[in-house]
Subunit: 500 residues, 2 copies
Amino acid sequence: MSSALDRFKQHWARISVLDQANAVLSWDMETFMPEDGVHARSEQVALLTELGHRWLVSEETARCIEDAEKETAGCDYFSDEASMLRVARRAYEQKVKLPDTLVSRLARTTARANTIWINARKKADFSMFAPVLSEIIDINREQAELLGYDGHPYDALLDLHEPDLTTAETDRLFTELKQGLVPLVREITGSGTIPETGFLSQKFDTAGQERFGLRVLSDMGYDLRRGRQDRSAHPFTTSFTPYDVRITTRFDEDDLLSALFSTIHEAGHALYDQGLPVDLVNTPLCQPISLGVHESQSRLWENIVGRSRGFWKCYLPVLAEEFAGQLDGIGLETFYRAINRVTPGFIRVESDELTYNLHIFIRFEIEKELVSGTLGISDIPESWNTKYRDYLGILPPDDAQGCLQDIHWAHGAIGYFPTYTIGNILSAQLFQLAIQTVTSIPSDIEKGNFITLLGWLRNKVHRHGSRYTFSELVRSITGGKMRVGPYMAYLTEKFREIYT
Amino acid sequence: MSSALDRFKQHWARISVLDQANAVLSWDMETFMPEDGVHARSEQVALLTELGHRWLVSEETARCIEDAEKETAGCDYFSDEASMLRVARRAYEQKVKLPDTLVSRLARTTARANTIWINARKKADFSMFAPVLSEIIDINREQAELLGYDGHPYDALLDLHEPDLTTAETDRLFTELKQGLVPLVREITGSGTIPETGFLSQKFDTAGQERFGLRVLSDMGYDLRRGRQDRSAHPFTTSFTPYDVRITTRFDEDDLLSALFSTIHEAGHALYDQGLPVDLVNTPLCQPISLGVHESQSRLWENIVGRSRGFWKCYLPVLAEEFAGQLDGIGLETFYRAINRVTPGFIRVESDELTYNLHIFIRFEIEKELVSGTLGISDIPESWNTKYRDYLGILPPDDAQGCLQDIHWAHGAIGYFPTYTIGNILSAQLFQLAIQTVTSIPSDIEKGNFITLLGWLRNKVHRHGSRYTFSELVRSITGGKMRVGPYMAYLTEKFREIYT
């Protein structure tokens, strides 16, 4: 009855439930909290974060894990028992290196930073955000030293978001991708072909956008009894348990595509979270593997499905009906090419599929330099703008469309951005395998039937929670390692076809 | 620097901040949480409640209070120092009697009860709610025994909501009120006068209702930078700190008055919470005195202000403009009489000012019997309906309009209802004094200027937080005790004038 494993589970459940409560506070902070609520909220989040950290790194955790490990010594490596203890031990050994004071300082600083960022972005003034960002970078550098690293201090931060990924390996993957991508972007932008997009320059009623988005969400299999969609400055997904997984978006009547693709993107995240193993709720296994795996899900749905010809074969008529009179005479080919138009732009979340990764390379490079100290906080805008000119050939007109566009730094997350490109790379490899195994997926998508694809993802990825590491997952599905090849092949085929 | 008082304050702040976090979870549960989120939410709320309780009743709390008491022994009785320690000691000595297990059981049960109640109410089926209500009553009876009482076990529960109020004293006040009220209601309903209300039987667009409500809220002085209005099954106000005080309402296009007066009512609560002393945030003093005092504020705004001729002199034209064409030709007198029409009805929160207290008497009587065990859970609907027939002359058609209408029992709150009538009684006494002191208040109200009234309430009530007890507050303002007289006089004068 009261085995060591049960004692471990009970102890872990408290940590997990506390984290869930904390996530509700953060969700509220970014959706509904009145402006002046921020000071008290910072204290609330800091308290729960500090408490959760203290519980996690307590001697009781160490003892619970150790006792349960002894008790379950004979279990298979991938059994529930061995896997949850392995994940717990990793988290314990990583976090025990961080003192309470640092953790609550980071929580308090980032809770405060959120509102500062919102206001700085509103006023397009990086200097308003710089002081608090400077604190955040300092805390992150301190964190890296405490966590330890072999190569670059950035390794330690990457590891918080993408376990076991190193700066060197990221450099290698990104370099390979860049070698394929840069000539392809040059070829595309130099092709002389420019897809027609004039019909997108209309006002699209935001209520209609919301209705259409909800229709797609629901068709994809996002369960609204276990979730909801709200609005926030920056779209995000948050999951308390698989029973309560919420997404947000932002609507702009001048931009039909932004909310639409962000909705599909966040739904991709949410499907992963809703598909985590409910029978393992409150254990270390009822969580995603990593941000990269998470992003592979959102990217797969947003781009490979959501920006495909097949998807719009089904949904263009629905969209045209929602916006009656506004899309008359726009055929599938025109629409498909328009939503896949390659245009270097300022805003990462609104960028096309092809240039997206260039935005990531820029952030990765700046973060590495901030962490190693070779770039000062006040130099960010200039470095940012220079890189945008060099990589994308455009110069951001202000900081709101430049280095203030993303919420991640305000959240204290340094080492997060690379996981977006990691997710892109993985998404193509997963989709390639899915359609090889379940050959009806492409034609099912054309009918708005996503159950075959979702079923494959649920079976291969979601239901395992964090039983596997990133590379174990990839090996279990592909039999090998993650490869850049399928992603480059997918991009090349798709965009050459459109641009010739 | 690190005085005993500082150590006490620091310790108390953690308890307070944790309570705030818990209140956010409850707010979310009743406004936005998806249906399936409830199981995990029960665990989250139970954990934070148990933790907060454990911190409050810890030996550290006892030691902190004792040390700080010694250090501040020379302070005035009503000084910040002495007052916060007095309030803290009272809370500690009350709650230390309740074991952790009981507290978390109540929290877990009521979190679950909330959704059960919503569904039972939807289906108008008390039997769905009965099992969980039975658990709640059992826990409350257990609680009463642990807390202790001199007279009736109900005393112990009343004391949780209205410190120092006894069942006997409540009986005395309610009897005095009943003696005045029953003949007055008889006189009114037998007067032969029936105010015209036909113009209210129209559809009133809920967006218009919301806009008008927000206008009134804002004019009243409710600060939307420190608050927001949402929708929920049962309107409520929740306060995390004075910086974040939220209200909810519900809209019905067939009922213009319901959302309107509930909005003013909740705003009355919210003004109190927003007016609590921010310099004492996270101390025991930055909280309301009691539910009765809280209700005196909401009732004063809802009824004495919101249902007055003067208020509508200003707002009827605004309302008529919002609902253009729908209120043409409805004069101030007609409108004033319509919103004050006395009609015995089923729903407490929609009842008129005069019969409202009869609803409370019924709940008070049933609760007393449930706690003493002379009434069984399954007998509630019959007892409820019989009392409605006897007191109001009407028979509820189903449980949704009967004993399932209120959320309070699902919240675990037994001994809460009497505070509504206590609030009514106090509201009249406060308003009488306010207009004696600041004679411009009535004419200011006619101009939609509430700053003089709010200023008086802020000065006399809000800014003191919980420095005074209920009777100390009444003494500080009136020089004497709370009296039923002013309330009866107010009701008699108002309704005789309308009904003759």
